[in-house]
């Protein structure tokens, strides 16, 4: 135990003085009290998600089934004249989709500098602000979310939740947190030059969501 650690903690304790012994710390940590959930986060409405997504420039497409996803993505890429070579997250849910049928060339792996389009599955989507919840893991490398110019996220409508808190509940149910949980709401942007909002500073220039309509949670 370091000298600095003891010194910092003891000066904190000295400053705080005498206090009730537990004062709710253990209870709060074991049974986290719910926060104030805004009305806009109280139901998992697709319309609310779409509104939030539109506000930040996330484009959203719908697919009736997983099998339709490659064709939807191919259409999106063709419309914008983007590369049909995609870097696919090594995710069993994505691997077996009919990519070749949609004339898309896929490679699996983590994101690399030269990758221009990535396709990753989201852990959840949050209606409250049109946010995607991405988690790191063997099946969803973080680099796919932050290196390619075009970031395509597949999400099931059953994984759409109302509030951030609902996403936390699902993550807790899954076990310990992964290395990185990232809420993504729109493409990378900056306003650092004369407060002008510009998209695509480091990460994706485009964020596109394909939502698979398979019912509610």
């Amino acid at each position: 135990m370091s000298v600095a650690r003891a010194a910092v903690l003891s000066s904190v304790r000295r400053a705080l003085g005498a206090r009730p012994s537990a004062s709710g710390v253990e209870a709060r940590l074991t049974e986290p009290p719910p926060g104030v959930i805004p009305a806009r986060g109280r139901n998992d409405s697709v319309a609310m998600f779409l509104e939030g997504a539109a506000r930040v420039g996330t484009t959203v497409d719908r697919a009736a089934s997983a099998a339709e996803v490659p064709a939807r993505i191919a259409a999106y890429l063709a419309e914008r004249n983007l590369s049909t070579a995609i870097k696919l997250a090594p995710d069993p849910d994505l691997r077996d989709l009919p990519w070749a049928e949609a004339q898309l060339q896929t490679r699996e792996g983590r994101g690399e500098d030269h990758d221009t389009v990535s396709v990753v599955q989201a852990f959840a989507a949050v209606a409250e602000t049109g946010t995607l919840v991405m988690i790191s893991g063997a099946e969803s490398p973080t680099t796919l979310n932050c290196l390619p110019d075009t970031h395509i996220v597949v999400v099931h409508s059953r994984d759409l939740v109302g509030a951030y808190d609902d996403a936390w509940a699902r993550l807790r149910a899954r076990g310990a947190l992964p290395r990185l949980v990232t809420w993504i709401t729109g493409p990378s942007r900056t306003a650092d030059i004369e407060q002008e909002i510009l998209v695509g500073i480091h990460g994706p220039r485009r964020l596109h969501v394909v939502m698979i309509d398979d019912g509610q949670a």
Binding site: A4, A7, V8, L9, S11, V12, A15, L16, R19, V25, R28, L29, P32, P33, P34, G35, V36, P38, A39, R55, V56, R110, D113, T129, S136, G137, A138, P141, T142, T143, C146, L147, Y164, D165, W168, A176, L177, P178, R179, L180, V181, T182, W183, I184, T185, G186, P187, S188, R189, T190, A191, D192, I193, E194, Q195, L198, G200, I201, H202, G203
Partner: protein
């Protein structure tokens, strides 16, 4: 960095005469407050969330030691390391030793105000490391060798052409004739230059907006996505955070995040919010092998005692800067150190000492807008008054104002003398004035230097009252 807070008046005068700066400040005053207002209007629960956020922070601060210990235990459990540091020097040495141990040559950084506070870049550079800021605003000011002028928009004071000049000087290998008049061209150039730095970095340093005790996670908020690259590509990730950043649970973090972006930029939420917990896991294809949290006190535990405790609720959103008439007039550099605006005027004396920073609490009209917009409801004007009292008690301020106030106190406590003296002075001034005003008055040059002083007309209030003029 060396603080120049002690020359605030001169700094402010320079700022007021700087045309480019004034144009930038006008842009800021048009942008941020309106965007915040719109975001708040879209969320009827905003005030309830503020109250909840205040309650969370108050509870956490009251149990700070307990939550810090839990946070530490959870970081260790996730395979990370925690380094406690009492002050800036310890934090600098700790970070350098992590870099040295990792045999690092190149370091990328996300924006961290605590990093500015401990001047980590200079220290690492002096020890042979190649350090680059990756937030666009921070990158620009790093190239220019300037401190940030705003806690969330560090290059807010600059114009496009100043950024273009900076890039031309710094990126010497690019064609000198390339066009850089559009913001988009500047952005693309920075993107390309920084991308190669991201890919080549050995160590990534980020700050943290929050630390979560429940899970041992650090929370980083950006719009650019630079923090994600910084905490994913290098072998080693270092999070630099001060001890008051801790909150108890994931739900608590969500509450804080709901007020943070709305107060800061008027976004509902920032583009990227990342919760980092430990190093790369077995099977992961990316992520750092090493996860270090540097937990820094640097004056926070001292602020727990007494008048400044509530300042530890601050989540660094910048709303008080964006709504401050003084900040809007002089910008951030006039404050002379890392933190500026109302929150800077409270924090700076606590962190670098009242003596060099004593002008900052004076540079306020105490209009109270900062407290009104503060998501954490920090009573900033009360704290500025606290610093003013401390300055006064410690003296010596200008002999003339001390003497003047002593005379005034003596006279004001004696009503007859007061009435006689003010009556006599008013009568004298009324007689001496030309066309009802003075262009110059002895002892009042601070007033008459920029405007005329109106001469008194007629009698004072009490005299009028006594004569029955009650309307």
């Amino acid at each position: 960095m060396d603080a120049t807070s002690h020359t605030f008046s001169a700094n402010a005068r320079t700022a007021l005469a700087d045309v480019k700066l004034q144009r930038a400040l006008d842009r800021l005053a048009e942008g941020f407050p309106a965007r915040r207002r719109d975001a708040v209007a879209r969320l009827p629960e905003f005030d309830a969330l503020r109250d909840a956020a205040v309650a969370i922070k108050d509870h956490t601060i009251l149990n700070l030691d307990r939550y810090l210990e839990r946070f530490e235990a959870k970081v260790l459990e996730a395979g990370g390391r925690v380094h406690w540091c009492r002050d800036a020097a310890e934090a600098r040495a700790t970070i350098l030793s992590i870099c040295t141990r990792a045999k690092a040559k190149s370091v990328t950084k996300g924006k961290t105000m605590v990093g500015e506070e401990i001047a980590i870049n200079d220290h690492l550079a002096a020890n042979g490391l190649d350090v680059v800021e990756t937030d666009l605003g921070e990158y620009i000011i790093q190239l220019r060798g300037e401190p940030p002028s705003h806690i969330i928009a560090p290059a807010i004071h600059l114009s496009k052409d100043q950024v273009a000049d900076t890039f031309r000087k710094a990126h010497g290998t690019l064609p000198p004739a390339r066009p850089l008049t559009e913001s988009r061209a500047l952005l693309e150039e920075a993107r390309t230059v920084l991308r190669s730095r991201f890919l080549g970095a050995d160590v990534g340093i980020t700050g943290a907006n929050f630390l979560i005790a429940e899970t041992g996670s650090t929370v980083t908020v950006t719009n650019e996505g630079n923090a994600e690259l910084t905490m994913t590509l290098p072998r080693v990730h270092i999070v630099l955070a001060s001890i008051e950043k801790v909150v108890p649970t994931l739900e608590d973090a969500a509450t804080m995040l709901r007020v943070l972006a709305r107060s800061a930029t008027g976004q509902d939420v920032s583009v990227y919010t990342s919760f980092a917990t430990g190093p790369r896991r077995p099977g992961d294809l990316d992520g750092p092998e090493e996860f270090n949290v540097v937990l820094l006190d640097n004056g926070r535990s001292a602020m727990l005692e007494g008048e400044l405790r509530e300042m530890l609720r601050c989540i660094r959103c910048g709303a008080c800067l964006n709504h401050c008439p003084v900040y809007a007039a002089v910008g951030g550099h006039a404050y002379g150190w890392v933190y500026s605006g109302p929150m800077g005027a409270v924090l700076t004396p606590a962190l670098i000492g009242l003596d060099p920073a004593k002008h900052l609490p004076e540079a306020s009209t105490l209009c109270g807008r900062c407290e009104e917009v503060c998501p954490m409801r920090i009573p900033i004007p009360k704290m500025l008054r606290h610093w003013r009292e401390r300055s006064w008690q410690r003296g010596p301020s200008a002999t003339r104002s001390r003497f003047g106030l002593a005379v005034w106190a003596f006279v004001a406590a004696r009503p007859r003398l007061y009435r006689w003296a003010t009556g006599a002075v008013a009568a004298l001034l009324a007689r001496l004035a030309t066309r009802g005003r003075f262009a110059w008055l002895p002892f009042a040059s601070a007033w008459t230097g920029t405007r005329d002083f109106p001469a008194p007309e007629g009698r004072g209030f009490v005299a009028s009252w006594n004569r029955g003029e009650r309307r």
